[in-house]
Symmetry: D2
Subunit: 337 residues, 4 copies
């Protein structure tokens, strides 16, 4: 930590800050500049609230040096983490595609779509059973029944599965039926849930919150890693900006940025990131071109009748074509789908 | 709902949209404009996803007419809701001030601060026992022990209490010890938690998420109201914008806007909204001047030693002075503190 | 400037950065921490692009210590600047109110409104003659004719005047007819215009751009101050956020923040900041409560027929009432309208 | 335009709105819904301020139907516009790459870089001569001397040139030396400048402002088109969001969205969009994958000594490699570089 004193800070003020730094366990090293004194606080304290120092008399600014995360960062874990789930590997030279409907609706729907995405080359099958819906009046998912259908379709077509867990109470049943447990954007800072998912033995897919910085995403990851679960995949799915013509603004720069700071794989979700079908394919291609470790896409064999998110679901034909494009783009940057 | 067709939409496209509207239960009324056809969809369907129509051929835009919330809106509940909690009334001519430490730390701290805020005129005592912390390495709160101390201090100084509930599993104990259950910004769309809080018989304080629109805040409120709990207070606590010199950007316009759309009382939290002590008083004053139904402020008798959020906590003396200013500002707009 | 090296930076990398710092004129002081080396760069260099160092091998982060502005900051100019314009003083204990129509439309309109706002207590008369309109098809203002009418009305009612200058070519005529030249939000970084306004002898009102940080606002101010013009008033008028129910989000925290960093007076414009009449009064009150050095409000005697921005203009009666409220709020915080 | 009345609007309120609509020239068609009356206003009025109606008694919401732009939209110009500049074609099957230094610095620099980008396959040469700099203390560009050097380098290597125009006073000399005149993000709503550029006979490259919606971008385009200049290329270069690890957030969804609404070509600028060299290549690839009609990239043969933006400039070798990748990605989606 570096504390920058104001130009007119008195010696007494400098001393007070210095004492407070020593008190909380730092060593202090002062640098006397042209106009200001800078105090370098040496020591590895991750729990400190910088603002404690910011409000002291004579302080101009306080700057964190050490990242607040440890397990999620590259400093002590420089090489890429590769998460392997029944043949799909996230984080290496492959770029697995996750596909399937927004919600599991019934057996026929689930099996039809599973077959189609498998044929087109998807490596993981998705499907929501517990749905976080903005409106209490909207379809809330089939629950455990949905998990069973997803599980059956995954088994039939030899695809690992992913589905969202909304509450601690669902973890047990999720672990039974699903291969990857997804934490939705709205729950990225549900610390209770994160802690519990740190204790399970199944991979977790953690979606970035709509207003979350990369640092906050990595701190949320830290909760899971700290519990001992290292099979963790991050996901960029759009942030909230002043832009309204897409549901969210897919922040693809987050991909190279996150990969710089963290060893964890990061994929992109252009379906939720844009919210409209005709924007999904361009942004899926862009994600792979930007270096994403995977892509998650909603596909529905009959989107007009989908119980949720039909508008952002690709038709199977569109998906098959997208897979062709993604293969070539991955190849252009030395990767494989 | 209004569906605006493209200028070059064919009759077949118009018919397809019209049929789809009829299918989901609307009556359809078409308006032929200079360049376009507009389809008015008549009927009260709150669960519909507009994007289903947006992606149909020939459709230019789809516009929702009915608000997606019903219970939270003024349409069927035009008069202001007043929430009364042991002498503090939110939503009428009074502007109660909620004050106390960020976290409950120990008995002495809690009783000292309770006494001071009571003397200065606070009407509700706050104190966190379960703390949602960005970092797993930071102080996570005293838990039930904290609730008991808060309860005891409230009893001693005859102040109702408010504290944050983070998970469904805490509700039972919270209801026992606390007068108002607070839902934090990060949990605004934890629908599981919202549903459960709709079933309790205690007032709820629902904080706006950092990236939540007013509509989403009211939809979250709808989950609670739909469960039968009408003792609901909303809270503006800052949104995430490109601005970084404050922790969040306190969106005070949200106060008159929310009051226009909803009958629920709405208060402001300038402590979390700004994150720095010297900005708290100006923004608390501004909130009351803008018409807030209450203000929540963090106060600590020894902020430098606070276990959390010391930097945004007022000294008791600052708080007492702020109370004086708020009294005059409330009076200037025909209200009372 | 402080350069934080990566934990695994080699000595050669540290040396390279150190050499580059010396090359551009800094003295270098290194602090060896637990895991990292930090280089303190001592010297007052305001033109440097931090990113030059950020991209060097082994560099973790580069942190600016000295603010990039000099004349606008408090460091070398700690006391408040007071700008006095024919009896209206911005920056001291008074909170002058600027009022008038969005656009000057005709003599009757201008004189009617001038009389009404004068009677209610406004200290400066506003009126647009050159209008920056989003649409080329919208009313573009009366031009010089408008300036003459504004000038005449100001003279008649003994009010100094303010109007927006859009281009360097208008400065000469503006200086002749207007007391304060306003730079609109869209022109905040029109550096050509800023430079020229640094050379005139009349006060300037500089509006914050919709996406401008406070630092950028102060850097824009720096262009004007650097030209020798110190009669400068800043104005918060709303930023662009994800919120859409108001035209912009009035960022009132910017007022205490700017006053901390700069000696320049700062006022608020709740008319443009909200864009809707019924939000103007609450936010004007909030601005004064937050410590604004003035408020600018659009007033029209017949808003339904206004040629621009009628929707956000107060009726004269509303304005008179607002003035009453502002007087009490100012008094509550030790100021006068 | 559609005016949605409140559920409790009286007939008198409906009549007042209806009359006002008729007064400004609309025909009115009313739709009686279950709970509300909706007034369809028929007629093509682009200058109207919707808020005029929004503030009338009994009005719930006013919705624009006709886009406010006419010339920039697809409605009356469905086919793509192709802008051809000395062999570089924007808007068709080709994806030309614009490359060169941020600022023209001297003859050797300009010729060295021009040769390198030409060899790698760039189709247009860029170089800034008039520089909009946040700080008045930073390098402001070589001015006309810079334009001459750019012109000479373009001639030598048979590359058309592009450079930024900051003020109306520079247009004449720009037209003499430069093939494409660029309007910077900060000037996107400098309506004076836009109008003048509508009158010239050279292509214009219009950059999206940091806080501009697509609608505002197209309205700015409308100013130029309305003047008669149809050789117009749009450019996405990053928006301002809460994200700070990149200079701006490159909003690649804007590419498919803009192409849906407008016939104008749109390119992307990942150098300004990210601000850091190691993010430029991933985002340039992503832009082409998303369907951009071109890419603008800063290249410098010695970035560490660049007078501006060295940190976001590619080394020539990186640029050459990027060109290889872009060729394959373009090919993957049926285009050519």
């Amino acid at each position: 930590m570096v504390v920058v004193m104001k130009e007119n800070a008195t010696q007494a003020m400098v001393d007070a800050v210095s004492d407070h730094l020593l008190n909380v366990g730092f060593k202090v090293h002062s640098v006397v500049g042209v106009n200001r004194i800078i105090l370098g606080a040496i020591g590895d304290k991750r729990g400190i609230d910088l603002r404690e120092f910011e409000i002291m008399d004579g302080v101009h600014e306080v700057i964190r040096i050490t990242e607040p995360y440890k397990l999620a960062g590259r400093t002590f874990h420089p090489e890429d983490t590769i998460v392997e789930v029944k043949g799909a590997t996230f984080g290496g030279e492959y770029v697995p595609v996750i596909a399937g409907p927004c919600s599991v609706e019934n057996e026929e729907q689930m099996f039809t779509i599973a077959r189609q995405v498998k044929e087109a080359g998807a490596k993981v099958l998705r499907g929501g059973a517990f749905k976080p819906r903005t409106s209490p009046y909207a379809f809330q998912g089939l629950g455990v029944e949905g998990l069973k259908l997803l599980h059956a379709a995954g088994k039939e077509f030899n695809l690992p599965t992913v589905s969202e867990v909304m509450d601690v109470s669902q973890i047990e049943v999720m672990v039974e039926y699903v291969d990857i447990l997804q934490i939705g954007a709205r729950n990225m800072q549900n610390f209770f849930l994160l802690k519990e998912l740190g204790r399970i033995k199944k991979p977790v897919l953690l979606k970035r919150g709509m207003a979350a910085t990369i640092e906050e995403l990595l701190m949320a990851a830290e909760y899971i890693l700290d519990g001992g679960n290292y099979d963790l995949i991050l996901c960029e799915r759009g942030i909230r900006t002043f832009v309204t013509y897409t549901r969210n603004t897919l922040d693809l720069s987050a991909i190279p940025v996150t990969k710089k700071f963290s060893h964890l794989p990061i994929i992109a979700d252009p379906s939720h990131g844009t919210g409209l079908r005709d924007k999904v394919a361009p942004m899926a291609r862009a994600a792979v071109a930007a270096g994403a470790d995977g892509v998650a896409v909603e596909v529905h064999h009959d989107p007009d009748k989908a119980l949720s998110d039909g508008a952002q679901s690709l038709y199977p034909k569109q998906f098959a074509r997208l897979m062709e494009e993604l293969r070539m783009i991955a190849w252009a940057i030395g990767k494989k789908i």
